[in-house]
Amino acid sequence: MTRKRGRGMAAVNYPTGMNLGGDPSQALIHATTTGSFVVTLSSVDLGQGLKTVMAQICAETLGVPTDNIIIDTADTDTGPHCMGTFASRGTHRIGNAIIMAAKEARAVMLEVAAEELEVDSNDLTTDGAGTIHVKGSPQKSISIFNVALAAHFKHGKSISGRGIFLQPRSYPEPETGKMTPATCYAHACTVAEVEVDTETGEVAVLSLKSAYEVGRALNPRMVEQQIIGGAWMGISHALYETTEPYYPDRAHGPVDFNQYLMPGPGDLPEFANVVIERPAADGPFGAKGVGEMTANSPIPAIANAIFDAVGVRVDSLPITPEKVLRGIRALNA
């Protein structure tokens, strides 16, 4: 039995969002009587952490604590429009819509506070901890709670805001095909190290080391989550997962988790990740999308590492032991 080691690398430039017929997302924000802010969205949190990051963006723009924000993603029938949670567009598109809505709501909030404190609203600032006060004199202040109460019951004002972000439709130039399908691009590079068993064709990933440029990591721990979860998924796509192993022949398609292979906790490589931040001009607080791309660069990096190890170039996924062995045999023929 021989095991051969190899190293491969791959890089990806990944567009944030897409643009088929225009790519809009909307957000509506209103304050409750007690100074919570409800952000109504039609976007979905399926575990990527949208609700957390949207609450952060809203709180930062309004100048109130994150705990005061309620993200309501209840109903796509009645909610403001969102194109959806795909193409790594959530943070960027919906985040920008929330910033626009929160700015409008903040202006009303400060107007009401100004009337209550009998000052000019331009002289007011928020402390991010639940209070609005006059710049330079923190003792002349009013709580967000009292501002919301006063807005409802004294001033008859709705502390609310509307926001939309639209990446307009871009038509390709007929001559060149050139177009602007996305907004900003995130970047990543992965180096994979593998060990290939030349007798069984099995590939073990020993390490995956990646660098990511994500604009700004609004929630660094969640960016790390995406990167590690995505790297695992990349290994899975590279070496294990398929619904049609002999496509286009539909035979031997897996029907359950016994047959649909994925790497388990015992198949993890060593991970090392670096996040580089270069804020995007059009991103919410500089953020780009770091979602789908995390599964991308590991796949070609692993394929290249296999080539480096045994000289076999497999160009269809997943790279199963069968394909590796056939490749080795062809080389020796």
Binding site: G47, Q48, A231, W232, M233, F257, N258, P265
Partner: protein
């Protein structure tokens, strides 16, 4: 359909239920008792999402007949800590960002609890072994393994102080 009476202990309380013969513990927990902490993933014993603790051992509730739980001691995620409080494993999962969609989390935590109850100082390999019947689609397992090791460390500390 025939129903049978089953008496068992559920999260330290006596529980009496009439269950259909041949129905699973998973369906008793979710459909009869409204305990949605136990997740239903595959209904065929391949994902681990439905893991509960029966007499100290991890069991797949989708493959366990409810009537076979007579006289047994069943713990679900809801029974790990009093309402409003978190078990050290739950706390470590939260602090360590070890959940994304959260679908695997209850099963992971209960599988981990069984491990730590019998082996308070596990190696990384022992943790991997303990959760190898539980599938996670989101996290890449790494943060889950780290959270379990962190919780183990935290759980050992008070014991040392007492000694």
């Amino acid at each position: 359909m025939t129903k049978v009476a089953v008496e068992f202990t559920l999260n330290t309380r006596e529980q009496n239920e009439f269950v259909e013969t041949g129905s699973t513990l998973l369906s008793a927990l979710r459909d009869r008792l409204g305990l949605y902490g136990t997740k239903a993933g595959c209904h065929q014993g391949t994902c681990g999402a439905c893991t509960v603790i029966i007499d100290g051992e991890p069991h797949l509730s989708c493959l366990t007949l409810a009537e076979r739980c007579r006289g047994k001691d069943v713990t679900t995620l809801e029974g790990l800590a009093p309402a409003g409080a978190l078990h050290p494993l739950q706390q470590a999962f939260m602090d360590g960002f070890a959940a994304q969609c959260g679908f695997c989390t209850p099963g992971m935590i209960l599988a981990a609890k069984c491990l730590l109850d019998r082996n308070p100082d596990p190696t990384r390999d022992e943790v991997v072994d303990a959760i190898s019947g539980n599938i996670c689609r989101c996290t890449g397992y790494e943060p889950i393994i780290a959270a379990i090791l962190t919780a183990a460390q935290g759980l050992r500390k008070p014991a040392r102080k007492r000694a």
